[in-house]
Every structure is written in structure tokens, then in C-alpha cells.
Symmetry: C2
Subunit: 160 residues, 2 copies
């Protein structure tokens, strides 16, 4: 393993560690617990899981891994707040979407070689990327790992 | 900039982004707000800042950047919970420690070249490191970035 491969492995390990921690927590939380707000007046567990699933689903087109699996999540969990009038999928379905999106990402990640990780993501033009080579796929992975950590720190409050 | 340098830049940028977000939040929060629990029955803002300062202080010896600046933080904010009998530093002091530790880390990071980032950290033996080369300084940075994101997601609840 060369140094670049090593660094990419470390970054992917960090992503996988946060996904695993989230899955372990979700396995411990009942649907009833997930329906509660994580803190008074804050988002519910259901909203946060939908939000995370929507954000991870958006990584598929952003990284060039294909179309979104569940495009309808965007309106409910990204562009509108928890207290919108939009009806939410069942918690059973959300748990399924969450796993499915992450599995699809894992499959895509497994097929990327180190150079491909440093290719541009799809929200940057080729022209801008030439000047800003840090706007690559690995950067998306890092930023989404921190996003997940951020909300995981909140979801943990649903535990007794 | 070669690919390895680019990846290290991205990882450092992610760390710096979380530090900046935290500093921005801390600038907005009064000492009074920081004295509150982030959610009912959970850690106070003061405890979390002390905890983060203690963990970042511990990065100094772990990375070979020198001794801890504030070793007394460990007992108060790492090995004992918020509700221990140990007296806590003033919030003014904690804000200062937090900044000072991060500035010391930033100074150290600025002097590391890409190969040094991939050298072992000080909690792994040379023998184990030969078999597990991912246990390096960059990995510490990644893991502490996620740790910070995790608690930042909680501190934000102190905002009105």
C-alpha cells in the first residue's frame, strides 16, 4: 500500500466508523424513541435520520455514483424543517432507506482507486477544479463524515 | 502540490473548519449560556469546552508536539464527569485554554511535512506501527476532527 492509498484508507475508515456508530445507536433506539425531539424544541430523531439519509443520497449524484435512490427525501428532510406540513415516511422505511443508501455508497467506494478519489465532484466545473483541486471526491467524503458526527452527537441524546 | 500534499491539505482544512465553527459559536455564547446543560441531564457547555480543550491538549504529547499545556484539565474534564466534586476553572480561563491549545497545535501542524503526517503517533509502539501503518498522526487529526464535530452538534443547542 503506498502513501496515497494509506491516507484514503484512513479517511474511509473514519467514515465507516461513524456509520457503524450510527447504526449501533439506531439498533438500540426504538421507533418511539426516534419520534422524540433530541432536545427541547430541536429536531426529532426521525427528522435527523431522514436528513442524514437525504444528504447521503445526494452524495450519489455528487460523486458520480448514479442517481438518487430516494429523491423525495429532499423536500421533507432538507429544504423543509421538521415541523413542515409534509408527511414523513414511516420510521421503518427511513431505517431501510438509510441502510440502503449507505450500502450503495459503500459499493461505489469499493470500486474507486486512489486517483479517482482525487477527481472532481459534480458540483464543481472543470474550469474551477483546475484552480481548486481540493474540490474532489475525497473532500466530499470528509465533509459528510463530519456532518454525520455532528448529528450523531445529537441523536445520542435519545438514549435513556 | 502533489497528491499527498493535497490530501493532507484537505484533512487540515476540515479540522480548521470545525475549529472555526466552534470558535464562532463560542463567540456568540455568553458565559451564562455556557453554564447551562446542552440538553436536560446532559453535559454543560462549560464541561464540553473543558473536555474539548483537554482532548486537544492531549494531542500535543500524542503527536510529539510537546508536553500538555494544562495537564490538570484531564481529571476535571476527561476522567471525571461534569457532576464530580472537582472545581472547574473559570469560563474565562477555559476559553483562553481552548484557544491556546489550538494555536499551539496549529503552529505544530504548520511545520509538519507530508511524510511526517504519516509517521506513528506516540500511543503506538514501533513494532505495532510496522504492522499497522494507519496508526499515524493524520489518523489522530481525523479522529479528533470527528470528535469535535460530535460535541459541536451538542454545543449548538445552547443557542437560543
Amino acid at each position: 500500500m503506498n502513501q496515497q492509498e494509506l491516507i484514503i484508507k484512513i479517511t474511509l475508515d473514519a467514515w465507516n466508523a461513524q456509520i457503524s456508530r450510527t447504526n449501533k445507536l439506531l439498533a438500540e433506539l426504538t421507533d418511539e424513541q426516534l419520534s422524540k425531539q433530541v432536545a427541547p424544541g430541536r429536531n426529532s430523531g426521525v427528522y435527523l435520520i431522514g436528513h442524514l439519509a437525504a444528504v447521503h443520497d445526494g452524495m450519489l449524484p455528487l460523486l458520480g455514483a448514479g442517481e438518487k435512490l430516494y429523491p423525495s427525501l429532499e423536500a421533507v428532510f432538507l429544504t423543509n424543517p421538521d415541523k413542515s406540513d409534509l408527511s414523513k415516511p414511516s420510521t421503518t422505511d427511513l431505517r431501510y432507506y438509510w441502510n440502503n443508501v449507505n450500502n450503495k455508497l459503500a459499493e461505489y467506494f469499493a470500486g474507486l482507486n486512489p486517483d479517482q478519489w482525487l477527481q472532481k465532484h459534480n458540483a464543481v466545473s472543470a474550469e474551477d477544479f483546475a484552480k481548486e483541486p481540493h474540490r474532489n471526491k475525497l473532500n466530499v467524503l470528509l465533509s459528510r463524515t463530519n456532518h454525520l458526527s455532528n448529528h450523531l452527537g445529537q441523536l445520542i441524546f435519545l438514549k435513556k
